[in-house]
């Protein structure tokens, strides 16, 4: 079969798209994936050069509005309290992620039943557990089983990362306070694991792309397996419409190739995996007489309920070198002492505190983990006081869904091909603000216990829109959800969504393992029930 038709079309080659493409291809289903970006050339990653930190601030910044690469699309974030961070490449945002790899907890799927807020998911932790396990195997996970803070899970494939001095100091403080902590599950090789991949050498800036291929990204994990199983991946494909038949049923997609020529491909099933901004953007772009407000948008919920993990940050300055620039920047230990709802607090739900290491010289000076080093006469003394002597705790909170937080199409802004750009509208509610305040107080207490000589809190990290979720939510009720529990659109069952858009609620933990487990579960269901893939059968059954 040529390029004009495929059984399943996947749009987006990131965390969810790669997982679903691999699983379908291994089941003998013809899969084609369209990816806007290209393959990362690991011989060219900036961490080999003296200007590596400059690249972090410019060409490799996680915010596409700062990076401004030709492959990116702009995002209007003027009305957004948190700025968007995402990447367009084979591997998607796993190219620049920190690879912190926690699972959601069982309570995260039952927030309405347990705490009376938001909505329950139509699926449970138990439904996802075998897919979490399978995903761990493919991505490769380093960690330590036996955490009393989470449901039992199999022995991790690899031992935990080295803690480093900062984590050792903070672990001792947590112990003295009686607060629970545990070494983080991370998608980073601490021993040899996976074909063609190396072992972490603790260089630090995982976000620049890992040339050792120790830090997992789906271009080095799922994609080689998927391509070997027969999946087809087309890069430089800027999809601008999901095409439908007169009944509104998706029949394929139209995209611009790298030369700007319009291409088309037919498909029996279309799977969107373009992240919590890109997916609703594409659905809203794909209007028809059946769906005048965007594809499968009978509910008007496409693009709405945008959730992040609003993040506060507290940094402790110590009177000893901690050498936090050594080791993966985002990963070491995790404290979930304040994760579950406590009626004694002035907020519902909770937060995690994740220890992050420290930056190189430029990152230290510019701020991020700590406030920007002041300019002027005292600048160099202020720099030397903090450089290499800090550790930081994120206060990663659970955002609750609100329809006013949303992604919509911008009326005038477009990408370089003239495709309307998305606009984010986002603000924090009082519950989240209270949670951040509590978290900053907790993290401050931990640094006091640890003996920090200065403690520097930040209420809200603005450049922290790394988790984009909720904009095409899952649910059993077709009147209040865009997709069902198997990620199929209620309004078109051969349309699926397998990225963070489907999250009903988001917990307070990094979402990638859950995105991938949900994608694998959706793929399994599609394999089991192939009627959508045989158009004749599908149409007669409809």
């Amino acid at each position: 079969m040529g390029l004009d038709h495929t059984d399943v079309l996947v749009i987006g080659a990131g965390a969810g798209g790669a997982a679903v493409a691999w699983r379908l291809a291994t089941a003998g289903i013809q899969v084609t994936c369209l990816e806007q970006g290209g393959w990362v050339d690991y011989a060219q990653v900036p961490s080999f050069g003296q200007d590596w930190e400059l690249a972090r601030q410019t060409t490799h910044h996680p915010n596409p509005n700062i990076r401004r690469l030709p492959v990116d699309y702009p995002i209007d974030d003027t009305d957004a309290a948190i700025k968007p961070l995402l990447y367009n490449a084979v591997g998607g945002s796993t190219i620049h992620w920190g690879a912190h790899f926690p699972r959601l907890r069982p309570s995260d799927f039952r927030v309405r039943s347990l705490d009376g807020v938001a909505d329950d998911w139509p699926i449970s932790y138990a439904d996802l557990a075998p897919f979490y396990d399978e995903n761990d195997r493919i991505m490769g996970v380093a960690g330590l089983a036996g955490d009393p803070g989470n449901p039992p899970r199999p022995k991790r494939p690899m031992p935990p990362l080295p803690l480093g001095r900062g984590a050792e100091v903070m672990a001792g403080a947590f112990d003295r306070l009686g607060w629970h902590w545990w070494p983080s599950d991370v998608a980073i090789n601490t021993i040899a694991y996976g074909a063609g991949r190396g072992v972490c050498n603790h260089c630090g800036p995982c976000d620049l792309g890992c040339p050792v291929k120790a830090r997992s990204s789906t271009d080095v994990t799922y994609w080689p397996l998927a391509l070997n199983a027969g999946a087809r991946l087309i890069t430089g494909a800027r999809v601008f419409e999901i095409e439908t038949d007169p009944t509104g049923r998706p029949v394929g997609a139209a995209w611009y190739d790298a030369e700007g020529t319009v291409q088309r491909i037919g498909a029996d099933v279309v799977i969107l995996a373009a992240n919590g901004i890109g997916t609703p953007r594409l659905m809203l772009l794909s209007t028809s007489s059946r769906f005048p407000n965007g594809l499968a948008n009978d509910t008007g919920l496409v693009g709405k309920r945008l959730m992040h993990h609003p993040t506060g940050m507290v940094t402790g300055v110590f009177d000893e070198p901690l050498d936090g620039f050594k080791g993966p920047f985002a990963c070491s230990i995790l404290c979930q002492e304040f994760y579950e709802t406590d009626p004694a607090r002035d907020f519902v739900r909770g937060y995690q505190m994740q220890l992050v290491r420290s930056d190189g010289p430029l990152g230290t000076a510019c701020g991020g983990y700590l406030p920007r080093v002041p300019w002027g006469a005292g600048h160099h003394d202020a720099f030397l006081e903090v450089f290499g002597r800090t550790a930081s705790l994120t206060v990663t909170t659970e955002d609750l869904p609100r329809e006013e937080n949303r992604v919509e199409l911008h009326p005038t802004l477009t990408d370089s091909f003239g495709v309307p750009a998305p606009k984010m509208i986002y603000s924090l509610d009082r519950n989240t603000q209270a949670m951040i305040r509590h978290g900053i107080a907790s993290a401050t207490r931990a640094f006091q216990e640890a003996g920090a000589i200065r403690i520097l809190p930040q209420d809200l990290v603005v450049q922290a829109g790394f988790h984009l979720m909720g904009t095409a939510r899952m649910g059993d009720d077709r009147d209040t959800a865009v997709v069902d529990g198997l990620c199929r659109a209620h309004a078109a069952d051969n349309l699926m969504v397998v990225d963070g858009s489907v999250f009903v609620t988001v917990g307070a933990l990094n979402p990638t393992p859950t995105i991938q487990a949900v994608a694998l579960r959706a793929a399994e269901a599609l394999i089991r029930d192939r009627r959508q893939i045989r158009p004749g059968a599908a149409r007669s059954a409809a």
Partner: protein, 136 residues
């Protein structure tokens, strides 16, 4: 002349001392002009800075920058980030940091860094904690 104004502003932001070079000593204006991503911030600064910035006293230059920071924190912040971005990736500055702290003036790869392996004994206390997650 705007280049002189820019040079004076950068030297006010990042003056030299016995350990670190000042912005002028490493010709930070020239370095910034060679980095495309920094041009917008430089353009904003060029519009904002008075033409006679270089002729002002040190205290007056500081006051002018403080006033800009107060009036337009985002624009000024962009200029500071751009200045730091050029300064803290300059080989002379990195050598100064190495001399002051021992941090090696080399990129992270390919050498990486050595860290002691994880020691299971560190979880002795949390391992004894009771169950901390809710059943559903």
């Amino acid at each position: 002349m705007i280049t002189d104004s820019l040079r004076a502003a950068l030297e006010t932001l990042l003056p030299g001392d016995g350990r670190f070079p000042g912005a002028a000593a490493i010709d930070l204006v020239d370095r910034m002009s060679g980095i495309d991503h920094l041009h917008p911030a430089v353009a904003i600064a060029s519009k904002h800075l008075p033409a006679d910035m270089a002729d002002r006293s040190a205290s007056e230059r500081t006051r002018l920058l403080q006033a800009w920071e107060t009036d337009d924190p985002e624009g000024f912040g962009g200029f500071v980030i751009a200045a730091y971005s050029a300064y803290y990736t300059h080989p002379t500055v990195l050598a100064a940091i190495e001399a002051a702290t021992g941090y090696a003036a080399r990129p992270p790869q390919p050498a990486g860094y050595a860290l002691a392996p994880f020691d299971d004994a560190v979880v002795a206390v949390p391992r004894r904690h009771g169950k901390r997650w809710r059943d559903t």
